[in-house]
Structures are given as C-alpha cells and as structure tokens.
C-alpha cells in the first residue's frame, strides 16, 4: 500500500517534470508566460511556507521582500552596470540581512500582533517603492532592465531561455527548502509552531530560529524578485503591494500550509484561475474569497489535506 502510494507520487512528479521541460516547445508563448508566473509564485509561496507553514508566525509582507529583491537587483545592474549573475546573489543576501533586521524586533511579538505588524510593514515598503521616485521611478515604473547576460552561449533575451532559467532556479529553491524542512533545523522550527513555550523549555532558542526562518524566507523571496525583474524588465510598485502578499497567503492556504508541495500546487492553481478570469477582473477577487472560504471550511489543511484524506481513506 505504502509503496503504491510512493510510486503514484513519483509518477505524478515525473509527469509534471516532463511537462515542465517540454512546455516551451509545445505551448504558445502566452501559456509559457503564464507558467513562468506560476513558477515564480510557486517559489514565493514555497519560501513563505518555510516561515508561516513550518515555523508558525503568520506574515503579510512576503511581497515586500519580493519587491526589495527585484528593485535591488534592477538598480544594481542599472546604476552600477553590475552583471545579473552577481546582482542575483547580492539581492538575495541583502534581503536576507534586511529580513533579519526587520524580523528581530518584529518577532518579539506573537500571533496577531506580529501579523498586523507585517501587514503595515508590507504596506510601508510599497509606499517606499512608490515614493522614492529618483530610485524606483515611482508610479511610472522602472524600465530599461536588461535580461541576464548570456552565459555558456545561452542568450536570455527570448522567452524560452528565461523559462528554463527560472525553472532551474525554482527546482533548486524547492530542493533547498525540502532539505531544510527535513533537517534538524526544520524539526526545531516545527516545534516552535507547535508550542513555543515548550520548545524554549527543551532548549530551542526560539527567538533565534524564528528570525532565521524569517530571514531565509525573505532572502528566497528576494532571489525570486531578482529573477522576476530581469525577466519582466519593468517594475511597478503595485506588483509588490499587499495584494500580492495576500495572494501568496491564499496560495499557501489553498495548497496546504506546512507541506511545501501544497503551496507549490496552490500557486499553480491560483495563478491559472486568475489568468482564466482575465475577462472579468472584478470577479477575480470574489472567486478568490470564495476559494479561500471553501478551502477553510472543507479542509483547513488545503489541497494537500484533501489529497491525504483521499489516499489515506480518512
């Protein structure tokens, strides 16, 4: 029984993987574009899951770190002529450090207080992107961003090369997160989610590990932002507003928080629903709300929970 479950999962994984590999060759460029968005959102929700799904604190500012990475990377390449290949790790590291600076005081708060703080911090960062016109171009956006410089003879000005670049980073990031949540560190942050006082009493430095989870989660969002900036080549503050943060929260809840694979599927599902709803933009938010409420009522553990119920028969 167990082995058949495992092999079913493996087959699903293999099919997904093959599909992802061949998509640029069989689908229209519009579909490829949507899949790129879905991969970027998968990276955001998977990195968000490390903090909220595994360590516990509910955060509403993931898009702020996404934006910070995007603007850092874009500005580094635009203003200093730095290569994308250097700007990407530098933006990731900067956002990681910035996350530590923000997380250290903010995570002294617990529960709702922390959530509300991140909500306002997210909005604050949006206002910073919007109002530092000399740097970010404000509401006019930041254009002229160059695609990644070609390496190994691969030219990144087209859609297909960017697709594979982002796919590779997506797979690397998910692999990294998978290793992390299954490591000793992963067990310690889960103990904080389950019972912070008990975790502290058995010797877990809860303050430190919460900030570390927060910073890693932020840094990975920063790397995703850098990839987005050089793929989309135009940044606008509204991309990184609280609506995006909320969307990431919805993706994670729809998929199933604390499962890693759930949020990735959630990101895919939500991205495609939103794209299909393009003909009626106002309705998108209604659909969103209904989706979220439906999931929370039917199965709070999300799609991953529904899957577990079907497979496990309970």
């Amino acid at each position: 029984m167990l082995s058949s479950k495992l092999s079913a999962n493996r087959i699903a994984l293999a099919i997904t993987f093959i599909l992802l590999l061949v998509i640029p060759h069989i689908a229209s460029s519009y579909i490829v574009y949507v899949v790129i968005l879905a991969i970027l959102f998968s990276m955001l929700s998977a990195s968000y899951d490390l903090l909220t799904g595994y360590a516990g604190p509910l955060s509403f500012c993931h898009a702020a770190f996404y934006g910070l990475g995007a603007y850092t990377s874009a500005l580094l390449t635009l203003k200093t002529g730095m290569s994308f290949w250097l700007a990407l790790p530098i933006s990731g590291m900067s956002v990681f450090l910035f996350g530590a600076v923000i997380g250290y005081p903010a995570l002294k708060l617990r529960g709702h207080y922390f959530a509300v703080t991140t909500f306002f911090f997210g909005h604050f960062m949006y206002l910073v992107f919007l109002n530092t016109r000399e740097l970010t171009g404000g509401p006019l956006g930041l254009g002229g961003i160059q695609p990644p410089e070609s390496i190994f003879g691969i030219d990144f000005s087209g859609m297909t090369a960017n697709y594979y670049l982002i796919l590779i980073f997506g797979i690397l990031m998910v692999g990294f997160l998978y290793a992390l949540v299954n490591s000793g560190f992963g067990r310690l942050i889960v103990s904080i989610r389950e019972n912070e006082d008990l975790a502290e009493a058995v010797g877990v430095n809860t303050a430190f590990f919460k900030v570390l989870a927060f910073s890693i989660s932020a840094g990975l969002a920063g790397i995703t932002g850098s990839l987005f900036a050089h793929f989309f080549r135009l940044l606008h503050p509204s991309t990184f507003s609280w609506m995006t943060s909320e969307m990431i929260v919805v993706m994670v809840l729809v998929g199933g928080a604390g499962t890693l694979v759930g949020p990735i599927i959630g990101a895919g599902v939500v991205t495609f629903i939103l794209e299909m709803m393009r003909f009626a933009p106002e309705l998108r938010f209604v659909i969103w709300a209904i989706l979220l409420i439906a999931i929370l009522v039917i199965e709070p553990r999300g799609l991953a929970g529904i899957y577990a119920r079907i497979r496990g028969g309970k």
Binding site: G184, R187, E194, D197, L198, A199, V202
Partner: protein
C-alpha cells in the same frame, strides 16, 4: 560533594504579592526531592525561576557551581535542567517519535539528526513505555500518555536535573505506580536528580528521600518523609491549627 543546585535567598514579587520569599535550598546530585505545600504556596513559581521562565526579584540560583539566574529558558535547558509542566504540554500535531526527537535535536543540532540521536530517542520511547504510540499524533493521546511524552521529550535533552510539576495529577492509581517505577529508574539507572512538585502525597512519600514544605512563598520545613509527617507546622497548614 558539591551541591548540584543551590538557591540562595530567592525572592519573587508580583506587584504586591510575594510568591517566594528568601527561599534557601541545597540539593545534592542523585537525590529525589519533593516540594509540597498548599495551592498557591509558590511551588510552580519556584520551578519557573529555576528554569528561567520568570526572573527572580532577588537572590541567586547556582547549578553545578554556575549562576544561572537571568539566563533564558533554552540556555538553562542546555545547562542540563529539564522540566515538565503542570498543565501538560506536548507538540500537538506531530508524532510521539518526533516530539521526543525534538528534545534530542534541541540538545545538539545536526543538519540531519544522527544515528546516535535516533537511537537515543528509541531508548527513551522504550523506557517510558510509549512504544505503541510511537507514530500516533501527540494530540490524540490520553492525559497520562501525554505526560509521559512530556517526560520523554525532557529526557531526550539529556538533563542532569529534572523538575517535574505535578506529574501524577489526573493519573489513576495504577498509572501512578507505573510512573513511580519509571521515576525510580530515571533516578537510579540514569543518575538524574529529581525534584517533584506533587499533591499526591502517596507518591511524594514513596518516591522522595527529602521533602521541602512551602507555604505562602516561604520554606517552613525540610526533612525526610517521616519527619515531615510528624512536623507540627506542616500538619497545621494542611489540616488547620489545633487539629490532632
């Protein structure tokens, strides 16, 4: 022999309420000490000061000759003091095995828990009789089993001193006897010093070599179980003055 734990003039005030007043205590390694006293006497406050959950207003705590007052709970746990809680606490939504493993991983973090750590967890699960619940989610257990999970997780941190806060409360007589046997093993075979706060007198009298009585935040008596049962002050506090 040097004392394992030394409390010196330990005082805790919550606003106008004095929960502990000038408590002095010397505890030798390997002992089984009981702390008893009426409800609200300050027993849990004493525990919380030793484990760093609350900071003493004044006074000092030394563990193995080192001052530990002012340290955070996780630092004190790493020094070798484990505890269980009066209101049972477990990591609810993970398995019993993972609960205990967290104790081991918290003690020493490796990127992957080592074979030795898994081995240690297996031994503790065996010792505490949790084998059948190994893969059960902790929140689905009975109170008695949860208490053993709490104890097992504390043991996984390899403590030299274990503070047990009302471990027997809510257990049946049979379960109390089993728990007493387990505690004697932990003390005798593993050499872990025990301090128990307990309302179940039978358990304290059977288990402990030494008993401290606390009332209104002050230590009013200390001695062997025999001495304590014949102490007039203690009898007055428990049964009211003039009884007998």
């Amino acid at each position: 022999m040097r004392d394992l734990l030394v409390l010196k003039d330990l005082t805790k005030k919550f606003g106008g309420v004095t929960a502990a007043k000038d408590v002095n205590l010397n505890l030798q390694g390997g002992m089984r000490l009981g702390i008893i006293g009426p409800n609200g006497a300050g027993k849990t406050t004493l525990f919380n000061m030793i484990t760093g959950e609350i900071k003493p207003t004044s006074g000092t705590i030394e563990f193995e000759g080192e001052p530990i007052h002012g340290l955070k709970p996780h630092q004190i746990s790493k020094k070798g003091i484990g505890r269980t809680f009066q209101i049972v606490r477990v990591f609810d939504e993970i398995s019993v095995y993972d609960n205990v493993l967290i104790g081991a991983v918290a003690r020493k973090l490796h990127f992957r828990p080592t074979q030795e750590q898994h081995h240690h967890v297996d031994e503790i699960i065996e010792l505490t009789g949790l084998g059948e619940y190994r893969n059960v989610m902790a929140e689905n257990l009975t109170v008695s089993a949860k208490k053993r999970v709490g104890l097992a997780t504390a043991l996984a941190t390899k403590p030299r001193l274990l503070l047990l806060d009302e471990l027997m409360a809510g257990l049946t007589f049979v379960e109390i006897d089993e728990m007493l046997e387990l505690l004697r093993k932990i003390n005798g075979e593993m050499g872990i010093t025990l301090v128990v706060v307990e309302h179940v007198m039978k358990a304290v009298m059977e288990l402990c070599e030494n008993i401290v009585v606390i009332s209104s935040g002050q230590k009013i008596a200390e001695g062997s179980p025999g001495e304590i049962t014949n102490n007039k002050k203690v009898v007055d506090i428990y049964l009211g003055e003039g009884s007998k």
